[in-house]
């Protein structure tokens, strides 16, 4: 009964278009008010304390890093290098958008900036080489999810922190699954291109000289990637420090070497990153109040007791969880969804003996897919805005790659090794 009332309040607030953090906060607040006899001033403490977490500081810096690289030349240079790398393959140009999304997504925590950046560069090229619009929009838009799945990712930071897991471990867990998705998308592109004879005009010979040249041009932005990962995995930097170091490097490269960013731009970049970060991070505070209510009332345990009667084993649980995540991800931003679902799903998954890092990764990937699930994927709107195509067209265009993602999601779900192998290798078993 209590759970039903709370769920109704939460869904009601969300669908009446209350900001996500307010929906979460108010649901928690009302829950505490109605169902407990606690004195409520402590919600003030919870709301502020949830932000008192040094790892969260990485979020504005990863947003800023993406901003700097897009505003400057770094993103362009990386894409041009990726283009030379694979453009001699059948469908090479299309494969480039997948690879660039993965590389750029590796640096940017955000999928929207990935689709805007990669799309902005790739769509004109793809059009020129006569790739059907439907095919190219579907591919570029869905590749942008790699921004979430390839570490470092803001969604992963929030997911790990909410689940009480190590952020670095979850990052490490992301590599094989994102590699799997990249391979699957490339394979899909290759097969379709060969079958339908797409992108023949773009086919060029393998060009080692051009490859070397673009590689040399992309050397400095590439260095940021290397420092970022080497720093995190050698333990030289914490996630936050690594995000700061890569921002400083990107700034030095863009301001002093490429001379693309001026003081005036610097002010705008900082302020806009701060604004985006604020609107996003405040969700953590709001969710803190809801999750405090949920733990105080022992709701995960109650749902567990209930669901264990109906869910006979791990496989059914994971199928059910994936469907739930895809559904929720369709309507709600991943951060809000994480805040609502992680405190409930984690204890249940532990009961089924699922590795918490694996669980976090499945959650991240499934919610990431929510970005492109019609009728509400946020990337679909973004893509429709930048390509000037109507939303229904974009929603149809996405279906083949959406299928690729969903198959990949189930593969990742049922082969936990994909997510646990790298972290166990790097940091040992827990």
């Amino acid at each position: 009964m209590e759970i039903l009332v709370i769920l109704l309040i939460l869904l009601g607030l969300l669908f009446l278009r209350m900001p996500i953090y307010i929906s979460l906060f108010l649901t928690g607040f009302l829950g505490l008010l109605i169902f407990t006899d606690l004195e409520l001033s402590f919600v003030a403490q919870t709301f502020v304390k949830k932000l008192e977490n040094f790892s969260l500081l990485a979020i504005p810096f990863f947003i800023l890093l993406g901003g700097i690289m897009v505003h400057g030349e770094s993103a362009d240079r990386l894409i041009r290098f990726a283009m030379k790398l694979v453009s001699w393959l059948p469908g090479g140009l299309a494969i480039t958008s997948v690879i660039s999304s993965a590389v750029f997504g590796a640096l940017s925590g955000s999928s929207i900036s990935t689709v805007v950046t990669i799309g902005g560069v790739m769509f004109p090229h793809l059009d020129r080489c006569q790739y059907p619009k439907k095919f190219s929009i579907g591919l570029v838009t869905s590749s942008a999810i790699l921004g979430i799945i390839v570490p470092p990712s803001i969604i992963m930071i929030i997911c790990a922190l909410t689940a009480g897991q190590s952020v670095v471990r979850l990052f490490a867990a992301g590599y094989l699954p994102s590699l799997l998705i990249v391979i699957a998308l490339c394979l899909y592109t290759y097969v379709v291109s060969v079958q339908k004879g797409l992108g023949k005009s773009a086919m060029e010979r393998f060009d080692p000289k051009g490859l070397f040249k673009t590689g040399w041009h992309a050397f400095l932005p590439g260095l940021i990637v290397v420092v970022l990962f080497a720093g995190i995995y050698s333990g030289a930097f914490t996630i936050t420090e690594a995000s700061v170091v890569s921002c400083v490097m990107a700034l030095i490269i863009e301001v002093c070497i490429y001379r693309t960013i001026k003081i005036k731009d610097f002010y705008r970049l900082i302020v806009s990153s701060g604004l985006i970060s604020g609107a996003l991070v405040i969700t953590v505070s709001g969710a803190g109040v809801l999750s405090e209510y949920i733990t105080i009332q022992g709701i995960p345990e109650r749902i567990l007791d209930f669901s264990i009667q109906y869910i006979p084993n791990m496989v059914v649980f994971m199928i059910f969880t994936n469907l739930l995540l895809l559904l929720v991800g369709t309507f709600i931003d991943p951060i809000g969804a994480i805040m609502i679902l992680v405190p409930i799903l984690m204890p249940i998954s532990a009961q089924f003996g699922i590795d918490p890092i694996h669980m976090c990764l499945v959650i991240t990937v499934a919610l990431g897919i929510g970005y492109i699930t019609p009728p509400l994927g946020i990337l679909l709107y973004t893509a429709s805005a930048i390509t000037q195509k109507d939303f229904v067209f974009v929603a149809r265009a996405i279906i083949p790659t959406l299928m690729v993602y969903i198959v990949a999601l189930f593969v990742i779900t049922f082969i936990p090794w994909l997510s646990t192998a790298v972290p166990n290798l790097l940091f040992g078993q827990v």
Partner: protein, 156 residues
């Protein structure tokens, strides 16, 4: 009101800019001293965490006016004719939340003032840190009232 709103704009944006640049500088300094001079500083981590909270609150308040809060827009897009009602509801609920922030936040500040505790490294009084919440309630409340006035001026 217009003037005051522009003033708030400036506070939000310059506040975010100052906090962000300060955090960037302090953390860079922290990393440099640790690797080059082998002397880790303990204050940057703590101070930047509090500035980050402040920056987040300023950003949240600014997102009211910019209409950039994370929301589920399904209903709004499906039924554009409900726009006025939904907006009105949004601002009223947000105003109520701002009042909750001010009231509970203020109560908590009083408790902290009574307890007289300090942050572990830089020894800032803890009540100062928590007074950020009633402050958020205040500026976001003003922003919301501003939006309500604009909404009514525009009418249905």
């Amino acid at each position: 009101m217009e003037k005051f709103s522009a003033f708030l704009d400036r506070i939000e944006r310059w506040g975010i800019f100052s906090c962000f640049t300060f955090i960037l500088t302090a953390l860079t300094l922290g990393i440099l001293t640790r690797y080059i001079f082998k002397r880790p500083l303990s204050w940057p981590d703590e101070l930047t965490t509090y500035l980050f909270i402040f920056m987040t609150f300023l950003g949240a308040s600014a997102s009211v006016k910019d209409n950039s809060e994370l929301k589920v827009n399904a209903l709004y897009e499906r039924f554009p004719e409900w726009g006025f009602g939904l907006d009105l509801l949004l601002h009223c609920v947000r105003l109520a939340v701002c009042i909750i922030f001010i009231v509970t936040g203020w109560n908590f500040v009083l408790v902290e003032y009574d307890m007289q505790t300090y942050s572990p490294i830089i020894r800032i009084p803890v009540y100062l840190i928590f007074s950020m919440l009633p402050f958020l309630g205040l500026i976001m409340g003003i922003r919301t009232i501003e939006c309500l006035m604009k909404l009514f001026r525009k009418g249905r």
